[in-house]
Symmetry: C2
């Protein structure tokens, strides 16, 4: 692992690091906010389409609340990258659009293993290099990263103590943001669809979701289907529709304090 | 005035607007966070070298604290811009490097009137278009913008109720960041040097300054000269050297809550 940068921030350290990943077969960059408390619990923040490790690190304002709560935040990249890594024609496929799944098909099968990367590869590096508590992990994310947070929590029971999401893609097998991509990567979009997983009986850890009523991508999110599935399953969860908020980091940063506080309750 | 974008943020509105400026003879872009409280007081945030209205708006995390305090924040651009506007060979001169002065020399004299822009032109547009309290204004800034905040407050007594700065350039007439630029723009670097102004008897409103001990540009800031001048003049002020912090927005965002709270005391 190589240190790209470390900046003091809210009494802790905001770092950016590069490590070599077996899962993706590439170097991967990630960011970590460490609050400076030995053995801090870990909140994973999965980013959305087009993002790298950097967007949320600089724009979501999470460090203020994580420092207050004594929680570390990890910001993985959203896909493998590099000249040898295939890419899509548009922003919603390929580099920057890993959808947090392990691709097993076509040109994607070699590098696009983001589920394994986030669940195994990066944790191995992370917990070896930093003084963090592997037994206390929660997960959140925005948009495609919200899809990642929900589906990883649903597919891996017990792994995360709590899950939250900002404007998540909830029903990707029915959305332009997910249907084609998940089918191309895995051949089975439903296996990575939070609504389908929940309807199918998967257990959801304690859950908080915020989505803006003025989200410009509202129709791609499938919030209605997930809301119905939550109700069908009588799942303890909070789904909040926030008046006038859109899909931007101004929305994410506004509700970041409550998401961090929510996870902190389960992580302490 | 044209609206470029408006995003709901912490219960208020983060907007970006373009207006035509007489002072600069160009269109100018600025950002405003309005907390949604009619007649809110105004905190000016002046940005540093290379920045536009956007950097602090997306990275400094000020909206959270401004919303809490009921204060609006204005983010002006750092210079006129456009194809017809002259530029320097490097980032520290010309576009992105207005130094908050009115140029009267050479190629700069036509457009580079940032002191008038920030003090007259933009306020005229701002207070006509938004429900804000013109009688309650304070000012802050980062790096070159910290220089701007300090010198505008010192040069225009009574205009701002309080002033603060993050890693300000304090003694530009002795610094690579200021000496050449201010001489080229105005012919008189000392007239826009916070340390010289303070030593010369100018009144400083209530003042808070934070600078990191690991600031990578520490030698360009002249903090020592300003500290000595503050002490010489027995000026009530807080100058805090913050252990391990650098020049980045991670530093700014860390101390943003205390700066906003400081100004809010004087603005309420």
């Amino acid at each position: 692992m190589k240190t790209v940068s470390e900046n003091r921030c809210f009494g802790g350290t905001q770092g950016v690091y590069v490590h070599s990943s077996e899962a993706t077969g590439t170097d991967m960059t990630f960011a970590l906010f460490h609050p400076g408390i030995p053995g801090a619990p870990v909140l994973w923040y999965l980013s959305g389409l087009t993002c790298t490790h950097e967007n949320a690190m600089t724009k979501a304002g999470l460090q203020a609340w994580a420092a207050e709560a004594g929680v570390a935040v990890v910001f993985p990249d959203t896909s493998p990258r590099g000249e040898d890594v295939p890419d899509g024609d548009d922003f919603d496929m390929g580099q920057g659009a890993g959808f947090y799944v392990d691709a097993i098909q076509g040109e994607w099968a070699k590098h696009f293993h983001m589920e394994t990367y986030v669940l195994s590869d990066l944790p191995e590096t992370l917990f070896a290099a930093f003084d963090l508590d592997e037994d206390r992990q929660s997960i959140t994310g925005h948009s495609m990263g919200g899809h990642g947070a929900l589906t990883l929590a649903l597919r891996h029971p017990g792994r995360f103590r709590s899950v939250s999401a900002f404007a998540p893609i909830c029903n990707p097998s029915q959305s332009d943001w997910g249907k084609t991509q998940l089918a191309a990567y895995t051949g089975d979009a439903a296996a990575h669809d939070a609504t389908v997983l929940l309807r199918g009986g998967a257990d959801l850890p304690p859950c908080l979701i915020d989505t803006g009523t003025s989200d410009q991508f509202y129709d791609k999110l499938g919030t209605d289907a997930f809301a119905a599935a939550l109700a069908e399953r009588r799942t303890p969860a909070q789904l909040r529709l926030q008046k006038g908020y859109d899909h931007s980091y101004f929305f994410v940063s506004t509700f970041a304090p409550e998401h961090v506080a929510f996870h902190a309750e389960w992580l302490m």
